[in-house]
Symmetry: C2
Subunit: 334 residues, 2 copies
DNA sequence: TTGTACGCGTTATCAG
DNA sequence: CTGATAACGCGTACAA
């Protein structure tokens, strides 16, 4: 059961490989009707399928891109991926998906392997730890885009949420409702991941703009496993928070759990605003006020830009930061 | 800025391509130390990267597999994908991800393209509408696995949840708690997708086993957009349901919304069991009783089997149905 | 140990 | 309109 190649088809149709190749590439400017027919016939009879690897070798293009996310279990990543895949499908590209798990080594290995596999471009949620590597690809003019995270001084198109604004919207809303002692909770602050640092930054700025003093004790960063203890600690303070911003969906669930276990009334005892839309926001009791942003659109725009750069319709050298606006969805938790 | 090939390295090191190739493939059984050093040196200086496409053409293997899911926005798909990616990463394979959107045409196009791209194997959440195509691949001995959905009479390894049992567990639990008028809600029943039909089947069987008559009006299938109206209709019946099984997470949210809007008390007015674990199950009021199953494990096992078949460590001809056990997580909604 | 020559499947070029 | 022939980059007998 040997694979049939273009040579077999040629032999079967009694013509040369080149003619068959032309046929396959729709270059029948001057091809005889009868020849066309014979080729079509042979292809059908032999059930010939072109070998795209061979074509890629010759054409130096694979019609495949790579996407390296931190972790595709995150809802945001999933939505971005889905958008990318949709755009690629529409333009006959395929997508190789990888999880870096925020591990620079893993990220590096993936980038190098995908590059070696000759993918035509890459969309990365960067760990930020492989600057030289990123830089090398830019110099090579390799189509590369960053998503969700920014890496300083690198001249690479980046698609980001207006994170400071997201935090500001939350603070403003709390203030307008008369809340005091507003806290913010995110995952560990150690890692300087763009969304986290920007959100905290925006939180601070917004407080200052309202003439409220920033209290470090209200800026909480903790690994998910230890959030409950941490929360307990913070809410045992003489002046505990009366309002809290959840830095993302996971952290929001932790807060809700804590509030529930301690029988705190929302929004009376504690106001809550979650950054990230969650599936259960509108059915929760009370319905949760959240801040959402256009994940799908971000993925779509990124994919479209990448494909343009791949086709050189867009200058692969110029680069900018694309910012997306967060939006308050007011419900009842604040 | 020309690409460096193995020939350039050879020239630079003043030896032949074959020697370099051997070096790259760790076949230095009899290679001179000095030669090895020279090669390493040249590779570094020229920053040579092997072209994997060329290697694939020669070796007829791409170290890439394809996964076609119905829609990667579904939590189950995401978890399965993540597991597959983990296994593949550990064995240096890459994963191309595609969304069929339950469209047989799209599925067909993907399968054919991926095949042409010479992926080494495929894991598919089948639409079920491309039997001939699936069959062709089996005959070709192409490594192919099905996930979540079963296609009759096809001799292809399939990884499925014990769906009937999941429904049975729910029914049994309701009955043991003294509930009557137990309904089941799924998305449209028209499409004969394995999980849906098996769950309804299991529901019926379980009721019968308890000597309870099956009422067609309690078997509800509806598109997500119209679920609210449908629910309104069903709960206006003379004897409305007192308990309801949510066929999946999306449908569960719809039920919760309906219950909330109509101020129904859970579990007093209405008992609820959701098939599919959801992130907010334990923080909801009341905490939701759900039935979960090992998605990650399913993806992991599938990927491992696929890679074995690819390496011919496993007979690609033999095939079986792998069933996974659902588990009741009792909380307070029933 | 190393070098030569050829194959992998397709496409591009250039005669005819 | 069609057909040789040479790439594309790598791997590998086989020869030396």
């Amino acid at each position: 059961m040997k694979k049939i190649t273009i040579a077999d088809v040629a032999k079967h149709a009694n013509i040369s490989k080149s003619t068959v190749s032309q046929y396959l590439n729709n270059r029948f400017d001057y091809m005889g009707e009868k020849t066309k027919e014979r080729i079509a016939q042979s292809i059908r009879e032999l059930d010939y399928k072109p070998n795209i690897v061979a074509r890629s070798l010759k054409q130096k293009t694979t019609f495949t891109i790579g996407v390296i996310v931190a972790n595709m279990l995150h809802v945001f990543s999933t939505q971005v991926l889905r958008a990318i895949e949709d755009v690629c499908h529409a333009q006959d590209y395929h997508v190789i998906v990888c999880n870096s798990d925020d591990d620079p080594k893993k990220e590096k290995k993936y980038i190098e392997m995908l590059h070696a596999k000759q993918v035509d471009g890459l969309i990365v949620f960067p760990t930020g730890e492989n600057k030289e590597l990123y830089e090398g690809m830019v110099n090579e003019q390799f189509p590369l885009l960053f998503m969700d995270r920014f890496v300083e001084g690198l001249n690479i198109d980046s698609f980001l949420i207006e994170n400071e604004k997201a935090a500001k919207i939350a603070v403003d809303h709390f203030v307008s409702k008369g809340y005091e002692n507003i806290a913010i909770l995110t995952k560990e602050l150690l890692k300087n991941v763009t969304p986290r640092v920007e959100r905290v930054q925006g939180y601070k700025k917004a407080l200052k703009a309202h003439g409220i003093e920033v209290a470090e004790k209200f800026i909480i960063g903790e690994e998910v496993e230890h959030i409950q203890e941490k929360l307990k600690e913070v809410f045992s303070l003489p002046t505990p928070p009366r309002a809290i911003i959840a830095g993302n969906d996971l952290v929001l669930i932790q807060i809700l759990q804590f509030a529930k276990e301690n029988e705190m009334n929302i929004p009376e005892d504690l106001g809550i605003i979650g950054i990230d839309e969650v599936s259960f926001a509108s059915i929760y009791s009370p319905p949760l006020t959240t801040i959402s942003y256009p994940s799908y659109e971000m993925g779509k725009d990124a994919a479209e830009l990448l494909l343009k750069k791949i086709r050189k319709e867009e200058n692969s050298m110029s680069s900018e930061i694309h910012r997306y606006q967060p939006e308050l969805i007011e419900r009842r938790s604040c």
